[in-house]
Symmetry: C2
Amino acid sequence: MAEDFSLENLPYGSVRRKSGAPPRLCVALGSNAVELAALADRLPGVPRELVDAPNLDRLLATDASTWSSLRAALQAALADGAPHEACAPLERAIPCLPFTVGDYVDFYSSLEHATNLGRMFRPDSEPLLPNWRHLPVGYHGRSGTVVVSGTPIRRPVGQRPGAGGPTWGPSRRLDLELELAYVIGGPPNALGEPIPIEHARERIFGFLLLNDWSARDIQAWEYQPLGPFLGKSFATSLSPWVVPLAALEPSRVRSPPQHPEPLEYLRGDEPWGLDVELEVALQPGGQAPHTISRTNARELYWTPVQQLVHASSNGATVRPGDLFASGTISGPERGSQGSMIELTWNGERPLRLDGTSRTFLEDGDTITITGWSPAGDPERRIGFGAVRGTILGV
Amino acid sequence: MAEDFSLENLPYGSVRRKSGAPPRLCVALGSNAVELAALADRLPGVPRELVDAPNLDRLLATDASTWSSLRAALQAALADGAPHEACAPLERAIPCLPFTVGDYVDFYSSLEHATNLGRMFRPDSEPLLPNWRHLPVGYHGRSGTVVVSGTPIRRPVGQRPGAGGPTWGPSRRLDLELELAYVIGGPPNALGEPIPIEHARERIFGFLLLNDWSARDIQAWEYQPLGPFLGKSFATSLSPWVVPLAALEPSRVRSPPQHPEPLEYLRGDEPWGLDVELEVALQPGGQAPHTISRTNARELYWTPVQQLVHASSNGATVRPGDLFASGTISGPERGSQGSMIELTWNGERPLRLDGTSRTFLEDGDTITITGWSPAGDPERRIGFGAVRGTILGV
């Protein structure tokens, strides 16, 4: 199998070499995190403060032409491999959040996911609400509880619906959501000035994997009329490595046709589907992992640039560090759904694992989401690494 | 009329002395902003970096005992007035956001407001949804578009509902929402560890006025099933001065009785209603202002500590700089509603102003929200100042 982190990928992250060491901006190359500050003398024309940094924040605040120059300089400097003193083995390096998260917006852009949830929760109505095909439905999540892969996830406690009124206790319907996310960079648009679709590309720095943990019982009771709150805000896990948009150019494909045609501001000619293979593995405590879902991000109905353009269409400023997520990615085939509630059809069809089964997540379960793009050449795949989290009991 | 900013109040803010000057941490006293760095030598025991600062961020990151010590030191240092060199007249000083906004959560805590909106939007059902009396309903708003008083508000453009599908254009139902907000400080609770109600007080630094501008047409079309997004995210205005919780101790009163009794985690013995008089004035371009609403924050059903405890009850971290808002404050009497949609009953009963009328806001309208607490002594009222914004055309 080709490795995730080739010179054509060169994703950015922030890692500590060991516990207690400061976080440093790195790229992943092969099996190492390569510290950028240690390469500074080999990067002609790159301002030192961009690479001698704890994380991506300063780079995100520059612009797309700076990102291109740095990437070209890094690919040249690392063409013959990374110098030993700059390298920390990935298996020992401790990942940190790669950037400071500004606003976090979560969309609902998979037709199959929105349809599945509509069928379960509103069985007597049209599964899709009337707005769904006209705009990328989304909402703001909690940025202060976005955590890096590996952070343990404590099962949330909260109000659960009950026939005699709500009861208080640990969530009994704890779920994952498989999502693809991207982080914004570049000079912010001024308040009141929307980002036109032809400029959206310059604001997208790169992509990550995201697990939008969800407590379905808490969410079901609280979410009307203002949307999800505590059912989601306890934690959202992010993969450590940001794959630059530049590395995904060969992965861009046509997204599914949209009917009706969206309003003018959401129309563009470029292909913005992303051919990213995705897998979810569930590992019960002390047992082997089982792949429970396989899908592809190219199935998403609304594209990343449509999401960004829509989010700023009312004049909202979008800042470097803002995080946008796709919403759960589900395909049409059995086993291609990105959440337990879909895979088990609201708990009615438990997943059979070796010697055990699951409707929702149990304490000790580890969920690992992986992703990679074939990028037209299986030998040179563009890998996202993984986002992983283990459920802790209350 | 007693002035807003007495020595018993001493609210904190960040102002520029003139255009282009750097923002500096100040308190408001009488008719001046008093720069704290200029007082540093008179504040024994106060670390210099807390007061020699652009805004409240560093102070929020300390703890409640530090806030008490600084307040006592400032009251002693300013007992005989502020030194001339530390003063900038409020009428010329340029306000900045008083702190960096972390997550912004907006609640829905007024029984009258929630009931009014339920009656308008779901005329054939119970106006309150089943969860409303069991938990403070809330959602995350956009922190990157929270702006300081005085910032012009561009009328948002967006998808408006129509019989033949959505149409694109400027919002025709632009509204204000009168709210009271508070900012969090103190050491963050660890992820997975809720804040118990008896510790909530230590995390509340102080209060402000907030105008949650709302485009009702955009909101009505987009908000199902995940809640408000672009109908709110274009701008949220905040007053420049943070009134410390310590200044509001004499303003604490019993909040309305709650039936049914809330679950254990939301119960506390202390009175957490706040006796804050509130007014909204609408000034059409080139005309005199009209007071269109008068109410009081003590009418709110859910209290600030209940909101904070609920928001962290699932283990979510709450950080210094996080902003919590009450939701629209409406009283039971005619003319005590905190939004145009309620005051005009969904546009059916226009407000009569001198020679003109309004259903929703028009370009050139200025909305000013003011607030003050009698605090048991009308001569020593605790004032919040004002939050103001003028609507610009597209």
